[in-house]
Assembly symmetry: C2
Homo-oligomer: 147 residues x 2
DNA sequence: TTTAAATAGATGCATATGCATGAAAAATCA
DNA sequence: TGATTTTTCATGCATATGCATCTATTTAAA
C-alpha cells in the first residue's frame, strides 16, 4: 500500500519519517564523535547547558528540565562527568536536599574541542541536503511540537 | 546569545530542535504504549516490516536494513519476539548462514491490538499541533535527509 | 508546632545495549 | 579446485538504562 503523491501524508507516516531522519542523523553524528575519540553527545549537551547557565552552574533538577533525560539518568551522567573531571558537584547552600553542578575549565575545553567535529558532522549528515528554506520550515514547524 | 527571528536558523539549531521534538514525541508515545501494557515500539516496527514483506517473512539482515538497529540488536530483539511467540525463526533454505523470520498470527494480532493506542499517541503528542501543510512539508524536507 | 506531603537526588537490581569477536556458510579470487 | 575474503548471525563481557525505592530536606497542612 503506497501513498499517492498528491495526497497529504498520514500523520503516522510523517512521524515515522521524523523518527527515521532524526535517528539516522543522530547515529551518524555519534559515530563521528566516537571515531574522533570524543564522549557521547549527552555529555556535550549537559556541558553546553552549564555553559549557557548563570554562573556556569545548574542543579540536576534544572538540567533535567533542559535535557531529555530521566532523573536517574542525569544523576549518573553527572557522576561520570565528575569522575572525568569536567564538572564539579557541591552541596547547594540554599537547599539542603540538592547539589549544584559547576562547569570546570576542563569542561569548557572539551566543549571547544568537540565543536568542530560536531559541527562538521551535523553539516554533513543533516544540513548538506537542505537549503535555507528547509531549515527555516523545520525550525518553525518543529517548534509547534515542543512543550 | 539569542537568534534574531528574521535570520534563518543555524543548521545546528534546526538539528537540535529536530532531536528534541523527535525525542519528546518518542518518549511520550513509548510511555503511553507501556502504560497500556504493550511492548516497546521496536517490537511494533519489526512486526510491521514483517507484515509488509513478501510472505510475511524477512531475514534478519533485511530487517536491519529497514529498521534503525544494529545487527546484534536485531538478533537479540528477534530472540525476544520468538520467546514471546510473535514470530518464528527457521533456517534459510537457500542460504545456510541465514535464518528466516516469519510473522505468526499472534504477531499480527499484537499489531492490531497496539494500533489504536499507537495511533492515538502519535495524534496527541505530534499531529495535534500541526496542520496538513506542516505534515506535508515535514514529509518532503525530511525525505531529503534520509538515505 | 507537629504531622503529612512533596521534592531532590542516589542506588540496588533487572534488563538492554555496545563492542569485539566467534563460527559457519557463501562468494570471490588465484 | 583450493585459499582468501565477505557475509550472516550469535554471544561473552562491560557498560548503560529503566524501575522501584530509599534518605534527606523542604513545603504545606492541621
Amino acid at each position: 500500500m503506497v501513498r499517492k503523491s498528491e495526497t497529504s501524508p498520514d500523520p503516522i507516516d510523517a512521524w515515522a519519517r521524523l523518527q527515521r531522519a532524526s535517528g539516522k542523523v543522530l547515529a551518524c553524528v555519534e559515530s563521528r564523535l566516537k571515531a574522533d575519540g570524543f564522549p557521547p553527545l549527552a555529555w556535550y549537551d549537559i556541558l553546553l547547558e552549564l555553559r549557557r547557565a548563570d554562573g556556569k552552574a545548574l542543579r540536576p533538577v534544572d538540567i533535567e528540565k533542559r535535557i531529555l533525560l530521566a532523573q536517574y539518568n542525569v544523576s549518573r551522567l553527572i557522576d561520570r562527568l565528575v569522575t572525568a573531571g569536567y564538572v564539579d558537584k557541591r552541596r547547594s547552600p540554599e537547599d539542603g536536599r540538592g547539589v549544584v553542578i559547576c562547569l570546570l575549565p576542563e569542561g569548557e575545553q572539551l566543549l571547544k574541542s568537540m565543536w568542530p567535529c560536531y559541527r562538521e558532522a551535523v553539516e554533513a549528515e543533516f544540513a548538506a541536503d537542505l537549503d535555507k528554506e528547509d531549515l527555516e520550515a523545520l525550525w518553525r514547524i518543529l517548534g509547534k511540537v515542543l512543550p
